[in-house]
């Protein structure tokens, strides 16, 4: 039972970090608090669903199209966010809240309120040994999140572009004074964020399920994991995701399913009080 819970916790945490990745990067670089993030993930899921259901495309081939669609949309969003004036965080919350409602209603109109599911039978198959199981769906989540985090880490720590992005995350004004074009960095962040969202969406539609209002839950996950990780800490996303996933799984086993969210909330509050810079963040002084 505990091994199953462990595997499930890590897979769930990987799922959480995949959802959070785009949000964390965009927020870190541009300070745009995108409340419509979840809706974008769900929209990417609907794009994949439409391709799968309407055109008979296999799940794997829906990823590039979802990524391309989200790239276009996120670049438009970046343009909208760039028009905002200070206080940027507050104004971006207001604007993205409106966007979230707009997207929700658009999806309701286009796809109805029905729950939609991309059926990928391979994801429910897996490796079964002595009553223990590891499904290909769980495996895909862990591998994909590790690869995505690894690539992002490489980009951020081993390229000039990454250094510029990190500098912008740490201090936008300082970065601008040092000659970094923070507007271009914002564009890059939205672009990379769009790729992450485009990857997360089809998975959301096949591992979870889609409905127009599902974005709220995805946004909450993204915000929570970003706080867990600490702004701009890419590796922290996976550690934060896993910690949350494992805590939730352990809570179900030890205390019961109804304690799942309470345990997460307690950990989140504890983290904010004792480690405000995130789980891997180093304290000042």
């Amino acid at each position: 039972m505990w091994i199953t819970a462990l595997v499930s916790g890590i897979a769930l945490g990987s799922f959480y970090s995949l959802i959070a990745m785009g949000f964390a990067l965009i927020f870190g670089v541009t300070h745009a608090f995108n409340l419509a993030h979840g809706e974008l993930v769900v929209l990417a899921g609907y794009v994949a669903y439409w391709l799968w259901k309407g055109w008979g495309l296999s799940l794997i081939f829906t990823f590039p199209v979802a990524v391309a669609a989200l790239l276009c949309l996120c670049l438009i969003l970046q343009r909208l966010f760039s028009l905002l004036r200070e206080p940027l965080e507050l104004n971006s919350i207001v604007m993205s809240f409106g966007l979230a409602i707009l997207l929700q209603n658009g999806m309701l109109f286009a796809f109805s309120g029905d729950y939609r599911l991309i059926r990928a039978p391979a994801l429910t198959e897996g490796i079964y040994v002595n009553g223990l199981s590891l499904t290909y769906g769980q495996l895909a989540l862990v591998v994909l999140s590790l690869v995505a985090i690894g690539l992002l880490h490489l980009l951020m720590h081993h390229t000039y572009l990454g250094k510029a992005l990190r500098a912008t995350i740490q201090d936008r004004e300082g970065a601008a004074l040092a000659g970094i074009n923070v507007r271009i960095m914002g564009l890059v962040a939205f672009g990379i964020g769009a790729v992450c969202i485009g990857l997360a969406g089809p998975l959301y539609g096949s591992i979870h399920y889609l409905y127009p209002a599902a974005g709220l839950q995805a946004t909450l996950i993204a915000v929570t994991i970003t706080i867990f990780a600490g702004v701009g800490r890419i590796r922290g996303l996976i550690v934060g995701g896993w910690l949350l996933g494992l805590a939730e799984s352990a809570a179900v086993i030890l205390l019961g399913s109804s304690w799942r969210e309470l345990v997460s909330a307690v950990i989140l509050i504890g983290l904010l009080v004792f480690r405000p810079r995130g789980i891997l963040g180093r304290e000042e002084g």
């Binding site: 039972m1 897979a11 029905d114 599911l117 199981s133 839950q217 109804s258």
Partner: protein, 399 residues
């Protein structure tokens, strides 16, 4: 010109005499549903049922010749919005009655506004017993918890007789009461509960819970979750290769859209239904077919059980309005309420009459099982259209 004027006047007089309703004000009915937000799927379906009921009455010439005007509002799946929309319908639109509502948090909010304005509210989908205990004379509903609990309790104790029963349920008031009532009903019949667990609707991962079920191992799982919870839970049960002899989802399984989304994974699952196309109360076959046809024509889709709940609630309200007009009474909230209290109406979903609390007297589901991609009624025997496949084949023996 002088010849035309009296001709026109005469024509107008004839029109008024032949059809006194031509200039009569329409009867306003208020309809509140979650048309957006997390409950939009169910709200839209129920809302379509209300539209179908109003269309049916208007196509037949209206209520005593007066057309019915449906004034619809979206509560956005939020109780505070439901209150403000209900206030608007009662105070500004002056509706003679309210209908709609999905989920107790929304229904409860609207019912208190109905009490305040003394406008009767017939809820289409509400379960929590507490709501009917508030002594609100203006609150009525067409569904009730016992309609699920009694047939399931009988089915489990008479047919399945599980050794290791698990009841999982969503953390909503109605689902929590359902789980407690079912356990209370089964215990004296010698069926103890081996595992009872509550979960948040929309939980993203059931695997740790499935690991607990596997330790029993549970032979019958009753899951008081909703449509979306079944989608996830059943797939994860399959992925974890936990094969229960029976999986019963009283809410959410018995829907055509559930079959469409789940495909073969829905096979052998049990659900309950008050009505669905092809499963109707004996003696109401023609009315049921007419309802299905009307929905297809109006919405280009098959109606679901939720659509029928909306239709039933609206039909009750319209029948009460008709009763008030037939008696020659003024169309006030108090008179419509009085008519609702004495209502006795045979509809495809139920023979509808209300008890002193506003609960339906004879709302009862049948137990269905998915067999060969369609729903087969397996309980009660007098309405069964086939036998239950029990135990269900293990996952690894299925294609």
């Amino acid at each position: 010109m002088l010849v035309w004027r009296p001709t026109l006047l005469c024509s107008l007089l004839v029109l008024l005499l032949v059809s006194p309703s031509a200039l009569a004000a329409p009867i306003k009915i208020g309809d509140i549903h979650p048309l957006t937000g997390r409950l939009a799927k169910h709200g839209l379906e129920s809302h379509q049922g209300v539209i179908a009921a109003v269309a049916e009455v208007n196509e037949a010439g209206g209520v005593f010749g007066r057309q019915v005007e449906l004034v619809s509002r979206d509560d956005q799946s939020l109780p505070d919005v439901a209150i403000s929309r209900a206030e608007e319908l009662c105070a500004r639109e002056k509706v003679v009655g309210l209908t709609g509502g999905y989920e107790d948090s929304l229904v409860g909010a609207v019912s208190e506004v109905a009490r305040k304005y003394q406008v009767p509210f017939v809820a289409s989908a509400s379960l929590q017993k507490e709501l009917a205990r508030h002594g609100n004379p203006f609150f009525f509903r067409v569904a009730g918890l016992q309609g699920f609990v009694e047939p399931l309790c009988d089915f489990l104790s008479e047919r399945l007789r599980p050794q290791r029963l698990a009841i999982l349920h969503a953390a909503t008031p109605g689902a929590t009461e359902f789980a407690a009532d079912l356990e209370r009903c089964l215990q004296p019949r010698g069926i103890p509960l081996r595992l009872g667990e509550k979960f948040r609707p929309g939980t993203p991962d059931f695997v740790p819970l499935i690991a607990k079920l596997a330790t029993l191992p549970a032979d019958v799982i009753v899951s008081g979750g909703f449509f979306s919870d079944h989608i996830l839970l059943v797939r994860q049960l399959k992925a974890q290769r936990l094969s229960a002899k029976a999986y019963i989802g009283p809410w959410g399984v018995a829907y055509e859209t559930f079959l469409e989304e789940m495909g073969e994974d829905a096979e052998y699952l049990y659900g309950t239904s008050a009505w669905m196309p092809g499963i109707t109360l004996p003696g109401t076959e023609a009315a049921s077919r007419a309802f299905v046809e009307r929905c297809r024509r109006l919405f280009q889709r098959e109606p679901s059980s939720t659509t029928m709940h909306g239709y039933t609630a609206a039909r009750a309200l319209l029948a009460a309005v008709e009763d008030v007009l037939r008696r020659g009474q003024p169309l006030t909230g108090a008179n419509v309420r009085q008519a609702l209290a004495g209502l006795d109406l045979l509809l495809p979903m139920e023979r509808l009459s209300f008890d002193e609390r506003g609960d339906p007297r004879s709302y009862r589901h049948v137990v269905v099982q998915v067999q060969g991609g369609r729903f087969v009624v397996v309980y009660p025997p007098e309405r069964a259209t086939g036998s239950a496949v029990y135990p269900a084949p293990p996952w690894k023996q299925r294609p």
